[in-house]
């Protein structure tokens, strides 16, 4: 699956997207962040203040306990400031 990063998360990750293949026991957004943080130091640093980070699965806003099974694209971003 593909992960997208936006705004200062994108800057801290120094990339807008990457492909990941989490093992099947990584079931939720929270677990994806845990799994990714364990192997990727800059990800761990960028996702330090985890409560404020929001996520979407295939263009739908989700909570951090949302299941990622079947997801094509997961986006992470700070709180929105549009309009």
């Amino acid at each position: 699956m593909k992960i997208l990063y936006f705004a200062w998360l994108r800057e801290r990750m120094n990339k807008g997207s990457e492909d990941v293949s989490p093992p099947t026991d990584v079931a939720t957004i929270d677990q994806l962040i845990d799994w990714k943080s364990a192997s990727d130091e800059s990800f761990a640093l960028a996702f330090q203040d985890r409560e404020i980070i929001r996520a979407s699965i295939d263009d739908e806003l989700v909570e951090s306990d949302a299941k990622i099974e079947g997801a094509r694209e997961i986006a992470f971003f700070p709180p929105m400031t549009g309009g």
Partner: protein, 156 residues
Amino acid sequence: MWVRIQQEPFDPGAESNAFFLTDGAAGATVTFTGLVRSTPDNPIDALILEHHPTMAKKQIERFANEAMEKFELVDIAVIHRFGEMKVGEVIVQVMAASPHRQAAFDGANYVMDWLKTDAPFWKQEVTSDGAKWVQHRKSDDQAREKWQTKTPPKQS
């Protein structure tokens, strides 16, 4: 109902006038126009808006459709820009048409409140010191709460 996400500047008055022409049954139209501002307290040179293109369009279409269902609207339209924009340029415009003025006010207000917190756009303010991410405001989360009441807003 239509939503346009675009990089190019647009003429807000011309967009309103075009919208009026298509809403024959609606006597009341409310237009919200959000502009790039630079104030003495917070002087800026420009704004840069980053966005998630597919999700931005889907989310705003959802809020616009919800507004159509919740309030007695004849039509609603949203234009939102991304990329770099200068002071005085328009960032966003929402136009809601209804036979009832309160419904037109509520429709545009509803879409703006949800767009602010749940449409994937992120602003950077550009000054001589460089670009700085705009902080999300708690008041924007609170603004949505007025739509959570069980009784629908009064029509008039």
